[in-house]
Amino acid sequence: MRRLSRLVLLPVAALGALVLTAAPALAAPSDQDVTWMQAAHQSNLAEIAAGNAAQQAATTPEVRELGAMFVQMHTQLDTQLTQAAQQLGVQLPGEPSAEQQRQLAAVQRNSGQAFDTAWIAQQIGSHSTTLAATQRELQNGSDGTVLDLARAATPVVEQHLTQLRDTARKYGVPTSVPGGTGGQVADGGLGTTGWALTGLGAVALVAGTAGLVRRRATSA
């Protein structure tokens, strides 16, 4: 599986040679191109960090191996992206976004099998977002070099997503959704109000009846 999965990097390697030999671009990349490059770079950094975390904390060889693969392939994608950014004069952020860092920290608060479950779910989410952003670049981007990067990244991210989903399926579908432990919404009936009104009514009824009976007795 590892050997096969590396094959999708061949176009990336070929593109690397192309980017290195290309003359400096004449036209500046569009806002969309720059936005995608910055987001893709942060995603690569986030996936590398997540891959390293999996190698340290995952309980199954399968998840550890996915982590190792993500480190290797996102490092390679990011090398090409960084070289292109230098040529195009695009500034790249130095670290994953605050949200990406927060998400990884939340996954790392789990241990044992719960870590694997949380890691796979988080990675499906982050790769879905990366794929959607890359597709948006392919539809709306303009710079040829950046579009080549997006084209080369697409099958890599798609393959990761497929492998993550295959791995998640091995855990089966949820057999229970433990959706509440408080009992507050079970207390929301109007029973208490109803009984209070009933009590008040009974008092009024008794007082009124007693008054009527007393009057009739005194007037008779």
Binding site: I124, V177, T181, L200
Partner: protein, 220 residues
């Protein structure tokens, strides 16, 4: 008729009304016992019937351009519910070894079942689940699911800023052990399923008896 007699009569009438309305209020069920609406969820999750014939009044578009790639949705980040004042944050979640969905501890953060469909996908059920309440943190925005009606709008915003709109079609309560597995299928018609707890609350175990499932379909 003299005035004290009138006063006592008023007391009797008011008392009778209060007793009657009070007793009626005690019959109002707790909010957790949300009544079913729309077709049962299992029926809604079944594969759609294909139209037997398509009308040929409209000519097919010229087949010149290659079909655009099917749009892929980014990971969902918030969901807006009619009863919640603000969008509710979402995190990707998976299945634990116990078979339980690994839901966020706080009812103010909901889980998106990452191995299922992504909200905005062309097919499959996207599942969003969470605690209706918590012994530690109190009730959360999902208690609004118990009051939703047919046609109410639910909006999911994804990580690229796109919004996916759904309209509620059904609400069904299941005994927790009878939650249908079809709910978690990644194929079939596109829909959103919101899952939480309801029904009777067992103070001893701290668990509800039922899962409440609200199904919503995409609005274009």
């Amino acid at each position: 008729m003299n005035r004290p007699r009138l006063r006592h009569l008023v007391l009797v009438v008011a008392g009778t009304v209060l007793v009657g309305s009070g007793l009626a209020l005690t019959r109002v069920p707790p909010r957790a016992d949300a009544p079913d609406i729309g077709p049962p969820v299992a029926a809604a999750a079944a594969a759609p019937e294909l139209p037997s014939e398509t009308p040929d009044a409209v000519p097919p578009p010229p087949p010149e351009l290659p079909p655009p790639p099917p749009p892929v949705a980014a990971a969902p980040v918030t969901v807006s519910l009619p009863a919640a004042p603000e969008p509710v944050p979402l995190v990707p979640v998976g299945v634990l070894a116990s078979g339980a969905l690994q839901l966020p501890e706080r009812p103010t953060v909901l889980g998106w079942y990452a191995a299922g469909a992504v909200p905005g996908d062309a097919a499959g059920t996207a599942v969003i689940a969470g605690h209706v309440d918590s012994a530690r943190y109190g009730a959360g925005p999902l208690e609004g699911l118990l009051d939703l009606g047919e046609g109410d709008l639910v909006e999911v915003t994804d990580a690229t800023g796109d919004t996916h709109r759904y309209a509620v079609t059904a609400r069904t309560s299941f005994a927790k052990s009878a939650l249908p597995a079809e709910l978690f299928r990644a194929d079939g018609p596109p829909q959103l399923a919101l899952v939480t707890c309801g029904g009777a609350f067992d103070e001893r175990t701290g668990n509800y008896a039922d899962n409440v499932v609200v199904v919503a379909v995409p609005v274009t």
